[in-house]
């Protein structure tokens, strides 16, 4: 094919995505081959991967106007599905987030992620000029657009996906043109609370860095002092409220940050997954040869803990390639956002890049013991049709952005 084709078709993004899916299918096969009930999972994943990739190509060629004008409808549909699943949904592993239609499990919350990013992009989309001014009401409305589905998902008892919903607010606001200082104040306040909770010394170092950063912002001294005070209050109030909790509640919160404190619950999986990945070494034990994973010490190793499988059987090489491929996918989504003259597409790409990044970092981080254990899948790799299709939907819109990067919407 000629250069012109690749000028319009983001082959790097497309091939990286295919690479992740292929690795995923091998890992799912390996994780389930000794099981009678689940041994068909990889066939199902493969079938939907092919359908999904066709869908990606289809979306690439859609006029961008269609996509933006669908935003609110998609969002409305997502809300209706989330409400329906609350009433009629089926409970699996304690989460009431599944529909069963003709034997297929469907999770509306996966679709809701894409639809919410589209809705926020559309809300901020007022012509293709960068850095517009937003009123407080507008910012609150945009936050509300995200919180509404997030609350519904929380009601389904799916905390992991709820946190995912909150992951793209800051990046999207940042790119939409909301004052960096305001975002900085919000982000540091959350960080202060978390750090003060984990370790008081981290908190002290953090406050020192905060003073430095505030100096560089060169805002009025009263404003800077205000942000500093809010941070200090956030840090102290967390410790205060934590000490007021019942011991069993404290234990539950501790287990999220320090799995080793709960070796029978989430800690058990982390101990096992660290052993699996660590024992993989440089080149791994070989396909289907992982003793930890083949002996099923890790539950649900074809979904949330699939990265163990890759780490044990393909070693640092395989585990590194997966992170690298994610790096390329996220990098491409950001560059497409940068290149686009279309502000809606720019914002959507930023939202999707954030989703990919958050999922990848938390999921991989949890299996290697540096992130809290939150049950969210590894995009494109974990077994699961709803998750696979929703991430491919994002890839499709990313590809579309690249193809139509020179077209203004307004």
């Amino acid at each position: 094919m000629d250069r012109k084709f690749f000028d319009r078709f983001d082959i790097t993004l497309f091939l990286s995505v295919i690479g992740l899916i292929v690795i995923g299918i091998f890992a799912i096969y390996s994780a389930t081959q000794s099981s009678v009930n689940n041994s068909g999972f990889y066939v199902k994943q493969m079938t939907f991967a092919i359908i999904g990739l066709v869908m990606v190509v289809g979306i690439t060629y859609l006029p961008p106007r269609y996509i933006s004008s669908l935003s609110y409808y998609a969002y409305g549909l997502a809300l209706v599905l989330l409400l329906l699943v609350l009433v009629f949904g089926r409970t699996i592993n304690g989460n009431k987030s599944w529909f069963y239609i003709a034997g297929f499990g469907i999770q509306p919350s996966e679709f809701a992620k894409v639809a919410t990013v589209m809705a926020v992009s559309n809300f901020f989309y007022k012509g293709d000029e960068d850095n517009q001014k937003f009123s407080v009401t507008q910012l609150l409305t945009a936050t509300g657009i995200v919180l509404l589905p997030a609350i519904l998902i929380k009601l389904e008892n799916d905390t992991g996906t709820t946190l995912v919903m909150l992951s793209f607010i800051i990046p999207m606001f940042f790119f939409a043109g909301v004052s960096p200082f305001l975002l900085f104040a919000v982000v540091t306040t959350v960080a202060a609370a978390v750090l003060a909770f984990i370790n008081i010394y981290y908190f002290a170092v953090f406050l020192a860095l905060l003073i430095l950063a505030l100096y560089f912002f060169k805002k009025h001294w009263l404003l800077s002092a205000g942000v500093f005070v809010i941070n200090v209050i956030a840090g102290y109030s967390v410790s205060f409220f934590y000490s007021k909790l019942q011991p069993y509640q404290q234990k539950r919160i501790m287990a999220v940050f320090d799995p080793a404190s709960d070796p029978l619950g989430s800690g058990y999986n982390v101990i096992q997954s660290k052993v699996a990945i660590g024992s993989g070494g440089l080149f791994g034990k070989g396909f289907l040869q992982g003793s930890q994973t083949q002996l099923r010490f890790i539950p649900e190793q074809w979904t949330d803990f699939i990265y163990c499988m890759i780490g044990e059987e393909f070693g640092l090489l395989g585990a590194g390639v997966v992170i690298l491929l994610f790096g390329i996918v996220i990098y491409r989504l950001f560059t497409n956002a940068y290149l686009s003259r279309n502000r809606y597409m720019m914002l959507a790409c930023v939202g999707f890049a954030s989703l990919f990044f958050f999922h990848m970092f938390i999921n991989v981080g949890m299996t290697i013991g540096i992130a809290p254990v939150i049950g969210i899948p590894l995009p494109l790799v974990s077994n699961g049709v709803s998750s696979l299709m929703s991430f491919l939907l994002m890839v499709g819109i990313g590809m579309n952005t690249y193809r139509h990067k020179d077209i203004f919407l307004s």
Binding site: N38, G94, F181, Y268, I277, F297, E312
Partner: protein
């Protein structure tokens, strides 16, 4: 412009990609640490020491009667297991003949378990005998992968069934496993499925414990992880201290014999249930160990529905036992006074329909009407009351709603109201004539025996309505924690005069010239009311509700005989015998002394 409040898109991209790159470097660094620096350490651990969690099931709580006697106990039993990883399939036939199971069944069990850990033993058959265990022990080396576990199973040291009280435990169904949100049960767990076992499942089951053990690459146990410091001891289940009287239960079951029906006796002062019988019943042992599938199928498909608790789950028309309710409602709503007389000829005509009575009684007051069980008197009361008062006063005595007995799936019964008839027949499409039959406890009215006994108890206690219950106390002997049992009580707001009139009528039923003269007892004054409920599906149902002693009630009883005919022939003698038995300290047996007399409603 002051400070950085306006940022170009390039800058934002640099910031974002910078953050991402930093995060990826962190992940890489950690991977290198685990897979290169610590590889040897983890490699060894994965070869030798993998941690496995073993679940330990606690002993289920016991059930104890009012005198401290254990009536539901546990006994140890052996469960034959096969661990697929070590098991040689050529041994299937030998294991089959050893345990007496069809070899096909073992193959199916092994095939079903393929989705789970191959190192986990699969339960093949519960409750195998000791001879089999010795054989397995002797041939340990040859029978690789064949083993057994000790489990505790239910044991009933009784001369009675009480099947509907205790209920049975069964392996948890896949449906409840998926629907459970607490992540406690696992496949193969026994869970309370009916009766007290189900109602108090959370108290009885206790809390599972777990041990972490180190296993080698072949799945063999090497030792305890972290010296057992992370192990959690199972907590045994709590015991249920019930108000049941074992001897009375045995006596009541014997009296009911092979008949269909229900018996329930309570202490009216406390609402405590003394005995509860639903017939036909069944042997709970059929559900224990490896349940006998044929027997269980027979029970589930039996036309007489032995698994059904007729005391709490079935509704019947109450017939003449309803007349005290009508009398109280009519007096409390001011339609009549205790001395109002109503003319009671041998029949009553409403519209173009004539309703019969067993005799003419002249002009009589309410006490006499209960004594002789006049139908015409209560036909007229039904009409006087109207549907609104009929419904509201009956609801005060717990009809149309659950009593709150501590057994699962209690029926609300059926208490008709204006809305109910409007819904069934259409607004203005039904006539007041329906109230005529309702006045004598016939028609679209359904009550359960537990509702009837609670109503009787409330009458003899002058309006104190107490939630009937079996469990008095839940106590965990290993933790020393007692869980209180809440019993709801309420005083029905009615004048004492009305209760006195109704109680007087019930006294005369037995001790005057009433319908149950045959059960009069010289030692204990019994008060009560017979009922013979017509029923479109066969013979009449025989009812009796009553209490004793008349002046200081200690027991209230309701007996129902399905299709057993007249109230005074079947139900009354059984009820009287149970009351006398209980009051005499479980010694007197007056059942055969009840002279059979002329049939009466």
């Amino acid at each position: 412009m002051k400070g950085v409040s306006w940022v170009r898109r390039e800058a934002k991209i640099y910031v974002s990609i910078g953050v991402m790159a930093a995060a990826i470097i962190v992940l890489f660094a950690r991977l290198v640490q685990l897979q290169v620096v610590q590889q040897q350490e983890f490699g060894k651990e994965s070869e030798k020491n993998s941690i496995k969690k073993i679940i330990e099931t606690p002993a289920r709580g016991l059930i104890i009667d009012r005198n401290g006697k254990i009536i539901v106990d546990n006994r140890p039993s052996y469960t034959l297991t096969i661990t697929p990883f070590q098991f040689d399939k050529n041994l299937i036939d030998e294991v089959a003949s050893l345990s007496g199971i069809d070899p096909e069944e073992i193959r199916n069990e092994l095939a079903d378990a393929k989705g789970t850990n191959r190192f986990n033993p699969i339960k093949i058959k519960r409750d195998i005998d000791f001879k089999t265990i010795s054989y397995i022990e002797e041939n340990r080396d040859r029978l690789k992968g064949v083993s057994y576990q000790v489990e505790s199973l239910r044991f009933y040291p009784n001369k009675f069934n009480a099947s509907h009280i205790f209920g049975y435990n069964a392996e948890i169904s896949e449906k409840s496993l998926n629907e459970s949100t607490e992540n406690y049960y696992r496949q193969g767990d026994l869970v309370g499925t009916t009766g007290l076992e189900k109602f108090y499942e959370k108290s009885l089951r206790g809390e599972k414990g777990s041990r972490l053990i180190l296993v080698d690459v072949n799945g063999r146990e090497v030792g305890a992880y972290n010296d057992g410091n992370n192990d959690v001891k199972p907590v045994n289940g709590s015991d249920l201290f019930t108000s049941l009287d074992s001897e009375l239960q045995e006596y009541a079951e014997k009296l009911m014999g092979g008949r269909r029906g229900a018996v329930i006796a309570v202490d009216p002062r406390t609402g405590e249930i003394l005995c509860l019988v639903s017939k036909p019943d069944y042997d709970l042992n059929a559900f224990i160990g490896s349940p006998d599938a044929k027997e269980i199928n027979r029970l589930f498909n039996h036309p007489e529905k032995p698994l059904f608790n007729r005391v709490t789950q079935t509704r019947y028309p109450p017939g003449s036992t309803w007349k005290m309710m009508m009398a109280l409602a009519a007096m409390a709503s001011g339609k009549i006074t205790p001395t109002t007389t109503i003319s009671c000829p041998g029949s009553f005509t409403f519209g173009n329909r004539t309703f019969e009575d067993h005799g003419g009684y002249g002009s009589i007051p309410v006490v006499r009407a209960i004594e002789v069980s006049s139908n015409v008197f209560f036909y007229k009361l039904g009409l006087m009351l109207g549907i609104q008062d009929y419904h509201d006063y009956s609801a005060m005595f717990g009809f149309g709603s659950r009593t709150g007995i501590d057994l699962p799936n209690e029926t609300k019964g059926l208490l008709p109201s204006q809305e109910y008839f409007d819904k069934v027949y259409g607004v203005n499409k039904w006539s007041q004539g329906l109230l005529v039959s309702l006045g004598i406890g016939q028609g679209e009215l359904g009550v359960s025996p537990v509702q009837m006994v609670s109503y009787t108890a409330a009458i003899c206690m002058n309006g104190m309505y107490i939630q009937p219950h079996i469990v008095r106390k839940i106590y965990n002997s290993s933790t020393g924690i007692e869980t209180p049992v809440e019993v709801k009580k309420r005083q029905i707001d009615m004048s004492q005069k009305y209760f006195d009139a109704v109680k007087k009528g019930m006294y005369l039923v037995v001790n005057g010239s009433g319908t149950a003269k045959n059960i009069r007892n010289s030692d204990y004054l019994i008060a009560g009311k017979t009922g013979t409920a017509q029923n479109p599906n066969g013979n009449n149902h025989s009812w009796f509700v009553g209490y004793a002693p008349y002046d200081d009630p200690k027991i209230a009883v309701c007996v129902l005989g399905e299709n057993a005919g007249w109230g005074n022939m079947f139900a009354a003698p059984i009820a009287a015998a149970i009351m006398v038995r209980y009051l005499s300290g479980n010694s007197a047996d007056v059942f055969n002394e009840n002279v059979k007399m002329e049939v009466n409603d």
